[in-house]
Symmetry: C3
Subunit: 416 residues, 3 copies
């Protein structure tokens, strides 16, 4: 818990050994956490919600990045706007709920009132403030990528988001996220650093610990043939056959499926790829069959596999024929991370008729709990004086890439 | 949460913009909190209790200022003394309860025993220590202002307390606080910095949020005619008429009522004024009628309005014809503040006959909860990276004065 | 809570006044706590368990020293080994339970597998790591002193442990701890600094607060005739007579009993002495009679008194004719300390027949709770700005010696 000086942080970053996990201080130090909040979460595009969470004008969600509360609200022109959720009078937080509906944004303390464009339209006894840009809500950059909402707290956000959108957009667009609705949302606080949550997500070397997920997902995410053990050989052959079948399905449907991977060397690292699924191959359910009878977008049959998307620093997503599931990772403290999981189904699907929430969420609820346990044991180990970075397995190359990206971004932010 | 260096603190203090609220770090930083505890709560007169809380010899209360525990005890000569509540042997806290009765002060660890003057009168096997001033309890300065007990932890307390007592005494004396008894006491921990608690108390610009209080209090505390909105005009006229009626009542009773206000430019800032009350004008109750049938002191009729008193840094009070209510604000952490509210009635009033505790406390219990909510939302906003001091409304001038006083006192303490 | 600089720590250490308790910062400061964990608990022999806690090959216990988790495991050759409980791959904690049984040590994250010598024997897809010393579990020094297990986290542990073992061994050996079994173990978290726990243990000046313990223990531990008060004179005479009786018993049994005391001037300070017990003199029970009908080792009658042992920094022990009780003090935070108490009886004693756990543990459960209360009041006092080191009574000389040792060890560690 000892404070780390600036030169200590410089040295820590400089010491990073490629191919190896990060030093313990990256997970335990309050100073590194503060740095992460400033240089990573304060300057990059952060996935926080999806458009179906704010379907109508006046609908809002609030998100908390460190101490900073941001409100995303759909305005009267149906655009999603983002503002700092802080009154310009005495600095009170304006909207305290996680989601809701408003006509205007009214501070509950002294009733200063802002419209959905953030303009101050009422301040009792302070007429000179009304309408003044100096007293309007401070805007926050917000972008929708095929319905996924990203915000950036920096004055000048990374410009490579346009390129990511151009590359990833064609993969996502066929899934019609804007025409979905939220079926379920679960917040889980993991007892570990946010980077452990992301690192854990970037490899399937630990997937033996996910029996429910392996009902549909092949164990070989991140693997090459060279990584397959003799015991896995038969499964791997089935995986290769299934992959070939799915490629035909995707090609027939005009869906791009080849992996796009650009995990470091840029501010907005990302990866997307369409994944073959095992068995019936329809969905992340215990029987790998669809969870919602109503397919999303224009899909005509459920066996579509899963489109996965990673964005750095903080999200991953799966788009299936019958639903989508998004994951937002929000740091809370050096050893606490919020993982918000949202399941979305076609807007006209009827709960209890077309889908059952328990069945829809069963696999990822279990998987998230298992991942939380892995993250917690890794966090516990990082507290040890004996902790030392170990070597990554080949199948963990994406974890290595994430760490490389992270160190690059710290260096860029620290002016190294 | 980043540590603030001395030069950072200097700059923070130097940047204060008059007419605007304080920067966020004043509410969130542990370093500023430590500074507040040292320079404000360690060097000024702090209201902590009233004489009716220790009516008999041996009665004590303990109060906690930061880590420092102080005991106030009435000695055998009926004077109230204050001591550091720490044994001179192994440093254990001697009295662990918030209030009680003792013959002597006996440390429960090794039975070192002090009399009510703080002298060590027993220490087993250590006869040379007994009676030695070096081993007596360390005294703390304590003063009674018409029954209100103030302590000061500094070796040399601010000398202007005498002047405050001389000015305020004639306002308070007729209320006979020493002849009252405690009817109720409630501790509330607000989730905000102590300065937000005080700032909130110093304006009625937010009083729309206090429907129970507005049953008796006019909305115009801190207002001038220029601040009154058209919608408030009729109420304001009634307020002016009522004020005239009350002035006649006060004059007839020989009660001083004009505002005395000296909120900055001195260590012991204060404000007192007699306030007209709405409707029956008797008390802070839901019907504005008296809560206790037994009036305090020599009052012969209940329609006496409310004498208010503010003292800096940490108290406010209301004295009515039938009861008094005192508020002590004690910082607990940067974002936690104890507000101790005490209701006092005439010593010979009988609970259940002359007064009902629920009715007596109803308005301020509700008001305190509402204020706690306002403080909490202001504290939440101060955590935001986007927090920025905003302008005070004219009716918030006392808040501005408090901040001015606070910055002055920090500067004095920091030797600027 | 203000951070203490290196020069501040130097000054704090330099200011220590012999014969007086330590300054408050030694108990409250996070910086001192970090120093304690590094220089005291990181470099000395720490008592953590006893051999009967890991009786069979594969049996393990884990202990937590600050963030560092250590596993003590009995290997296939029946030796007790200690390792850092952290996987060499991604740094996860391997064994999360406090005790258990394993064949190998398998990391639950990615199944890296170590044998009981700490060698890596399996790592999927990473054959080059298997068997490499660089990827084996990091060993921790461990020593058994007549069955008491001490670990040292330093690369080069204090060499004087051999001397302590040579001196103390003959006192302990007759009690046959290796042939005992654990009858009960209780963890208690005291709300105070670990040094307050130890200091409290090193004197009987407070023993008036331990009525249950005084059923068997004479009040005069640490006392000389000069310290006895007139009210204690009769008890003291009985103590002297009883002592003479016990010396004859011990001599007849060939048991060394004279005090060995070397509390400072060396890294591994210690004290041992055989104590006469009051009344029947058999055990620490409410009637001072044996708690287990089955005596330990080869004792033929129960009236053996109590062999006590202190080791610095963190343990004390009592060995009786019918059982032993060990106490390990483990710092958790500046104001939190784990006290682990373990009662051991002869391996062949049968619970419910030969001994009753409630009766066996009754006295020390009560005594521990009382001590926790004393520690808590001392910790509370240390938070006060008025806290000042006071003088030790003559009967507290061992507390003074402990503080002297502690300051010496800090100085040695800080290179003073």
């Amino acid at each position: 818990m000892t404070a780390i000086t600036q030169s200590g942080l410089d040295a820590l970053v400089a010491r990073r050994r490629p191919g190896h996990s990060l030093e313990a201080a990256f997970y335990t130090s309050q100073d590194v956490f503060d740095l992460d909040m400033r240089l990573i979460f304060g300057r990059h595009w952060i996935f926080v919600a999806s458009e179906p969470e704010v379907p109508e004008a006046g609908d809002y969600v609030t998100v908390q990045l460190g101490g900073t509360s941001v409100v995303l609200v759909r305005d009267d022109d149906m655009a999603v706007r983002a503002f700092h959720n802080v009154c310009r009078h005495r600095g009170a937080v304006i909207l305290r709920d996680g989601k809701g509906f408003v006509g205007n944004l009214v501070c509950p303390y002294h009733q200063w009132t802002y419209d959905l464009t953030g303009a101050l339209i009422h301040a009792e006894n302070m007429p000179s403030c009304v309408g003044s840009p100096e007293h309007g809500l401070k805007p926050v950059h917000v972008r929708s990528l095929a319905g996924l909402l990203f915000i950036c707290l920096a004055d000048e956000p990374p410009v490579d988001f346009d390129d990511v959108a151009a590359q990833v957009g064609p993969y996502l667009a066929p899934h019609g996220l804007q025409d979905c609705k939220v079926a379920a949302q679960i917040d889980l606080v993991e007892h570990g650093n946010w980077k452990l949550t992301i690192e854990n997500n970037r490899e399937c070397y630990h997937c033996g610990g996910h029996p429910e997920l392996l009902c549909s997902l092949f164990h070989f995410f991140g693997y090459t043939a060279a990584d397959v053990t003799p015991a896995q050989a038969e499964d791997y052959q089935r995986f290769l056959r299934t992959q070939t079948e799915f490629e035909a399905i995707w090609d027939a449907a005009g869906l791009p499926w080849r992996a796009l991977e650009d995990l470091h060397g840029r501010p907005t690292g990302f990866r997307t790829e369409r994944l073959a699924l095992d068995g019936p191959g329809e969905s992340y359910t215990m029987d790998a069959r669809q969870a919602s009878r109503r397919l999303v977008a224009g899909f005509t049959q459920p066996r579509m596999g899963a489109l996965h998307l990673h964005t750095q620093p903080n999200s991953w997503h799966h788009f299936l024929g019958d639903h989508a599931v998004t994951f937002a990772t929000i740091p809370v403290a050096p050893g606490r991370t919020l993982v918000r999981t949202t399941w979305l189904v076609a807007k006209d699907a009827v709960e209890g008729v077309d889908y059952d929430v328990d069945r829809l969420t069963e696999v990822w609820r279990a998987t998230n709990e298992q991942d939380a346990s892995f993250v917690e044991m890794a966090q516990a180990g990082a507290a040890s004086a004996a902790h030392e970075p170990g070597p990554y397995a080949p199948a963990e190359y994406m974890v290595d890439a994430f760490c490389t990206w992270y160190i690059e971004r710290l260096r860029a932010g620290m002016g190294q």
